[in-house]
Symmetry: C2
Subunit: 691 residues, 2 copies
């Protein structure tokens, strides 16, 4: 391949093109993210995708300079760019510079993040994915070249009021180390369409087991089997639904570094413990990190297949080697999964710089430390995926890092961030990146905050209390225990809708939780003029007014969470028809409304119109289809909720539509796939006098 | 050179050893920082340095892995590590990980900093400098190897109360890109001793002209010549001393990008303007950044000698090429220096990622963009150094970036940081890194804060108001105008002492402003146990109780600035004898005292004893030697304060000592170098009834 050659893209799926570069670089070459994750494109999903035109008029180019590859992608007009992994400060990435490196969030969006996915999306309707495990630098349209065809006009800061520190260039430029990388271009009618194709390339989204969408409680780090059972009994006694209990580090005989073996004192008979919990209808999830203690039984065997550096004194398994993976998975199968452990919380795989191996660490597979940190989470999730598939039981859990290519692995991202606005930005940003965010509930300061945090969890990938450090339970604040119980029950009510949203993720790649701007370009950020301040804003940078406290859940539900201290809030209703979820009141669209926010109510809005207005819910064992507006449509998906049998067709899918006539509703069910038992539907008009 | 070979260090100066590695790497190899700065070791200073033993019992080693060099330096016991450039959050760098890259401070100490100097110092009495312009990763003793001889014991987070997230390893590990680098090891009896040798290697410290230590005022970005003259006249009218006025971007015909040419409307006759200002005793400093506008006269000639990418539309001169440097310097000489411009404020050379060229930018010299960002400040300071030397006039100014090797260039670092504690940490940290910090005064909110900010400036490398954005003058708060005037006069009083401190920097490498712990190991940080919090401190990290609001100025003065809202403060007095600067009261040592902090007084303390207690001051044109305690000693340096003649011996230096007998003081002057006119000394006892 020669320098600055135009990349030759080949169409590999409808709306997806690939080009590989190989500059024959003699130094270290990085692996690909899809290769490390071991995932394959989901052909069945692509079969339903429409053809789209190649999005660039001018061909993207590549060049080698020293030990780096440079890519140039055309950029222009007023397009807005999103993505580049998990972010907390701003969704829009236009004109930003990011060096994407897997690391714990350090308080600033600078590229060091738990999810450094090298994928961006333009609201002009395309996406770019650089498939390399290198630390990749993205210059998002602010680097103007000397030989630019249409350079922005020069301004004089000493005279021109419209001088700005940022300028728009003609290219997004991307550089990375090594000589090899694959580039994927995605087309699409909307950003959601583009992201769906990106997820299908990674194998489609994950479909959690149904129990994964229930109530989760993580217990204190020092809990014993007896204490866990007592907590579960207390849930039952109080009538609070409970699906999963997560054990924190103390369940292991040693942790930080880990043995992954049961603590004989706290959990003397793990098999019996799991059996009893199962009898109470509660699944067990185990915390772990991957650094193996000298006192672990597999230590001596594992040691030769680990990196040069320890983490908290434990060896770091070289997960690129089958020997290391097999030692870990055999132990996990024997000691956990065989007893019924439902999944894991995989902590500290995010390259927290202060204690991870250094970038120059060496692994026996030959994979460099700096690459291993980018893909460690993927390698382990992949190994666990194999383990659970071999039992034909789905898993669902938590993981503190991800990267591109992991959308099909059933894990939610979390970290220590807890600020409301950052939390919501994080949740919205995962939708651009093939990841899910768990808005865990912990360390709250008041009953009001407690309810508000719970409400965010209610319509999210995972509703979970994390009580590992402080003691937090659904009855922590007695004065709101009933409200909390209702929030948990609202989630149960919404299960059919949310499960269908996940099926759309699994089969079609559509993220179940999305930033508002992904569906509605009118909800993009607006730039507000900056105010000069010699200390706080010396370049008079404008601020982004982004809507991050509203997001889409599934195709038709919009969530507008309220945070502590607020009794009213503004809600932006995009163009179209919108309804209040509870009352069915028609609210119109294309405007901002102000609403009352009583504590007990999570503001929820239903997108109406011909392709909306339908929310399947579960009421007393039957599917109640809530119908908003005069007519609408939606869909319903169901399967056993437990196994992978759906992958071979054992599932049910139906299109649902309705028309209201007078006070009555006339529903139509069109079965699209009948591989699983059908359910009776009850179409229920909401609004028009009913609520 | 073979892998993991022990480095062969050769002694090159007393207490300084060098080893070069060259792994014959075929990819991009970085230049050295000393080479880019073009500096030579200051032999005369080393002639006075004592021999010290090589500090490591086990030889440091080097290895190549892929395209990286790895260095391993022994680390052990309870040693504390400092340095690694400009920092704001904590001075001590033990167990930290830093990837040193020139960039604007982003709110976190993570290695992206204005001064990414790859030099660290241990309180065990040694220093390590990696001379490479690569982005260098430092793992400061927290990366434990699997094959460690004495690994830290495993702990169980689920059971052991003393589990800690950080562990001490046996090595500091350092890695960088490319195949070539020089390593320097420095010995010394103290950290100040080690740092002095590091500075001597870079040519010694800078000696500012005397006028540079006077009062500076930077004026508004849009000021005209007339407005500047009016401001200067107002200073004179109010009896407020003024030494330098700094012009901000609007003096140029275009700025951001820059022409470096005078704005014909605001400054129609720059030569006459400079002449008039000179007549008022005021020097002119010019703001600039280095990105050249299309409307600059040199643009067309410069363009071929610039990088591929523009910055604010201006071309970035390839300062590694003599053609680019000469074009810039010829213009600067002709249009500025010939008229008497005294120096520059060199802005935005710090690689602010959002608008600098990308790392993959190419420069015609073949130097990569990622290297150029690390050394751009050094290259320009070097060029200006040549220009001013050719006129035999010293300069003094401001620069927004530096790197190792720049201690001999007369510039102060600044940035937008303004938080009191961060400001003081920044000031203290520059002492570890061959840089100076300007605690500029701007945008203050109250008269009280104004006084407190001024007091920090009073005993600092540069006392400067920065009024570029907001209007700030010494009389901004009429109620404290007299206090401000007294603060400026206190700085004038201290000039002989501060100038001598700079001479010690110039000739001996001793930083004029130093963290307390550099001189007194008893003033090191103490670690406070962390409190577990699931959100704010999930690893229960301890906090560092570092003393950053006290620092040493010169050999004998300790400054303890007070910040807004405080009327009392604690002051730690290290072991020894300490005196109140104003009253001479003996305060003892080895303890913490609590003092009153009336607004008008900057707390200053004099270190007494046989090698202290002497503060030469300037009172009505004669040198008044303030004498604290029963006996003491110090020194005095003088020269023309203006030219480089001191470098060929045209200076005066004397040792001063005194003994008190009864109420009288008996002073002794021992002339050490008599190349410049002697001054009369007046030894004045402070305390013992006088003050």
């Amino acid at each position: 391949m020669r320098n600055m050659e135009k990349l030759e893209f080949k169409k590999i799926f409808p709306g997806v093109w690939r080009a590989g570069v190989d500059f024959q670089y003699p130094g270290y070459n990085y692996g690909g993210l899809l290769e490390r994750a071991g995932v394959k494109p989901f052909q069945e999903g692509f079969d339903k995708q429409a053809e789209t035109p190649f999005p660039f008029a001018e061909a993207p180019r590549a060049k080698q300079a020293g030990g780096k590859i440079l890519f140039m992608f055309p950029f222009g007009g007023q397009e807005r760019l999103y993505g580049l992994g998990l972010v907390y400060e701003r969704l829009e990435q236009t004109l930003q510079v990011r060096h994407l490196r897997c690391d714990h969030y350090g308080g600033k969006d600078n590229g060091r993040t738990h999810v450094p996915a090298p994928f961006y999306v333009s609201d002009a309707g395309y996406g770019v994915f650089i498939d390399s495990a290198s630390v990749i630098s993205f210059y998002m349209g602010g680097s103007v070249r000397k030989d630019a065809k249409n350079p922005p006009p020069e301004k004089n800061r000493g005279r021109d009021a419209d001088w700005q520190s940022a300028q728009r260039s003609e290219y997004v430029e991307v550089s990375l180390d090594g000589g090899r990388a694959d580039v994927y271009i995605f087309g699409g009618a909307s950003m959601a369409d583009v992201v769906s194709r990106f997820n299908l390339l990674s194998g489609g989204g994950c479909l959690p087991p149904k129990w994964g969408l229930g109530m989760w409680q993580r217990v204190n780090i020092k809990y014993s089997a007896e204490e866990v059972k007592q907590d579960a009994a207390e849930f039952a006694k109080r009538g609070v639904p409970l699906s999963v209990i997560g054990l924190e580090p103390g369940w292991q005989s040693n942790s930080y570094p880990c043995t992954h073996e049961w603590d004989a004192e706290r959990f003397p008979d793990p098999k019996e413990f799991l059996r009893e919990m199962s009898g109470m209808g509660v699944r067990i999830n185990l915390w772990e990190n991957l650094y193996v203690s000298k006192s672990a039984k597999i230590y001596e065997k594992l040691k030769p297949y680990s990196g040069t550096h320890t983490v908290w004194g434990g060896v770091a398994p070289d997960l690129c080697l089958p020997e290391a993976r097999n030692l870990m998975m055999d132990q996990h199968r024997r000691d956990h999964v065989a007893y019924g452990v439902s999944g894991y919380k995989i902590d500290e795989c995010d390259g927290f710089d202060s204690w991870l191996w250094p970038d120059h660490a060496e692994f026996p597979s030959g994979v460099a430390g700096v690459e291993m940190r980018q893909v460690y989470a993927a390698l382990f999730a992949r190994a666990l995926d194999g383990l659970y598939r071999s039992t034909n039981r789905r898993t669902y859990g938590l993981i503190r890092a991800a990267n591109a290519g992991m959308s099909s692995f059933p894990y939610c991202i979390y970290n220590d961030c807890y600020d409301f606005r950052q939390y919501m930005t994080g949740l919205a940003s995962t939708g651009f990146t093939g990841a899910l965010w768990c808005p865990e509930i912990r360390g709250v300061k008041s009953a009001e905050e407690y309810v508000r945090r719970f409400q965010i969890g209610c319509v999210s990938p995972m509703l979970m209390i994390n009580s590992w450090a402080e003691r937090v339970t659904p009855w922590s604040f007695p004065e709101v225990e009933n409200i909390i119980r209702d929030v948990i029950k609202l989630r149960e009510l919404l299960l059919p809708y949310l499960y269908t949203a996940f099926a759309d993720y699994r089969f079609g790649g559509l993220p179940p939780f999305r930033a508002l701007c992904m569906d509605f370009s009118g909800a993009s950020a607006t730039s507000q003029a900056g105010v000069l301040d010699s200390t706080d804003n010396p370049y008079a940078l404008g601020k982004m007014a982004e809507i991050v406290d509203q997001y889409m859940a599934g195709r038709s539900l919009m969530v507008a969470p309220v945070f502590t201290g607020n009794t009213r809030r503004d809600v932006f209703l995009p163009e179209g028809e919108w309804y209040d979820f509870y009352s069915g009141e028609a609210l119109g669209g294309g405007k901002t409304i102000s609403i009352d926010c009583p504590l007990e109510k999570l503001p929820l809005f239903v997108r109406g119109g011909e392709k909306g207005g339908v929310i399947p819910t579960m009421v007393d064992g039957t599917v109640s289809v809530l119908c908003y507006g005069e007519k609408g449509s939606g869909s319903f998906y169901d399967d056993d909720g437990l196994t992978y049998d759906f992958e071979s067709g054992t599932y049910y899918r139906a299109a649902l539509s309705f028309v209201k006539k007078g006070g009555a509703v006339e529903g139509t069910v069109t079965v699209e796939h009948d591989g699983y038992r059908p359910v009776p539907f009850d179409f229920m008009p909401i609004g028009n006098g009913r609520s």
